[in-house]
Symmetry: C2
Subunit: 216 residues, 2 copies
Amino acid sequence: MNDQLSSKEPSAAQTLPETGSQEAVNKRQAQIVKKASRLFIKKGYAQTTMRDISKATGINLGNLYNYISSKEDILCLAFETYHDPAIAWLERKGVLTIEDPKEQLQTALHQMLVMTHDAMNDILMMYRETRVLPPKFLKIVLKKESDLVDFFEKIIARGVEKKAFHVRDPYFAANMLVFQLSLYPLRSWNLKRYSREDFLTLTEETILKAIIPDCA
Amino acid sequence: MNDQLSSKEPSAAQTLPETGSQEAVNKRQAQIVKKASRLFIKKGYAQTTMRDISKATGINLGNLYNYISSKEDILCLAFETYHDPAIAWLERKGVLTIEDPKEQLQTALHQMLVMTHDAMNDILMMYRETRVLPPKFLKIVLKKESDLVDFFEKIIARGVEKKAFHVRDPYFAANMLVFQLSLYPLRSWNLKRYSREDFLTLTEETILKAIIPDCA
DNA sequence: TCCGGAATAAAACATACGTCTGTTTAACAT
DNA sequence: ATGTTAAACAGACGTATGTTTTATTCCGGA
């Protein structure tokens, strides 16, 4: 009846009715998460009701629970959906094999900026709703973010060794850089005057200036 | 620039019972806001109940409504309490009269960084709960933030004119700078390794490097 | 044609919430 | 003592919520 005491698995391992084809269930899940995310973005997680989600997806309220195990679970799935592609890109593409540190940093930074910009609403939502995540899942999310910082730290540290960059503390610089990626998601209300391209260029330029000595 | 920043009563707090000593009421209000803010920080606004606030303040649930007009009102008051001092400092102190652009920027930046650092929990809370603000009050808050950006834009623009700074777009630089002030509030979970002083120095250094040419 | 699993609609359920009301207590001037 | 007034209190009200359940409909395949 009320199994609140049973440990809540993070969404990935969430146990569901498990009937029929897992394929169709996953598809339905994705549909729910996508629609629900729009609502979370527009109204906030707490202010979005399961009835809202039912209406938005066109899936009956009771039927929703055949695909997700709880409202909280939808949020976890949303974090997964929009957080993973970034790190995935950095690994899939051969960023790590670029020899020139400056070019390597520019390539990684540019791609991250573009992705961040295009997913601005989702990122803003994540910043706002992080608190709602169950502790176990929160840990996973922070770990992923921390990995991203480590990724940039390595690039920067190598550039410093090769005298291509000039920063006193690569770990700090990486933290600042990753944080700066969120400038637009968190402050777009004050940056409307810039076109997408202008903004990306300006941001890239500003971030790099703090890392690459520009006196040459 | 900041014309009506010292508006006191007619903020967003709605009209209250308006009893006898407004003095005691304000004191009580401050007490409520302070305690409630701690709860909002710890559990989030939506997850904090008026009963929680009653328990934390020791003020009876029903009696709370003699001092605040709604739960939402408490949040508005919290924003006011922690948002105003920053702008106030910049105006009170004679930052605007400092002649040397570099010294002027350093002074303002340092103070803002210290204040941001010390109010990190409140700032994190504000980033997260902005959505809950009633539209009318949200507008006021964004205006204040925008004013802060304008403040730094003017400093930067003057430094550019005097060839002391090197930035392509002062408005963008100011936006980035103000955003960077929130690095610690938003990312402290990944920056625990730094002492307060080390962190402040590093941040100041990094922010300035993007504005002041360091080839000298 | 009929069966069985899925979807739907509607309601129920238990709880939690913000807010308000009616009453009591305490302080204090008269 | 007494009367007045503001503060404190417990409890209730109505609504909204996440979740579950029940009764009914739909539809493809035997």
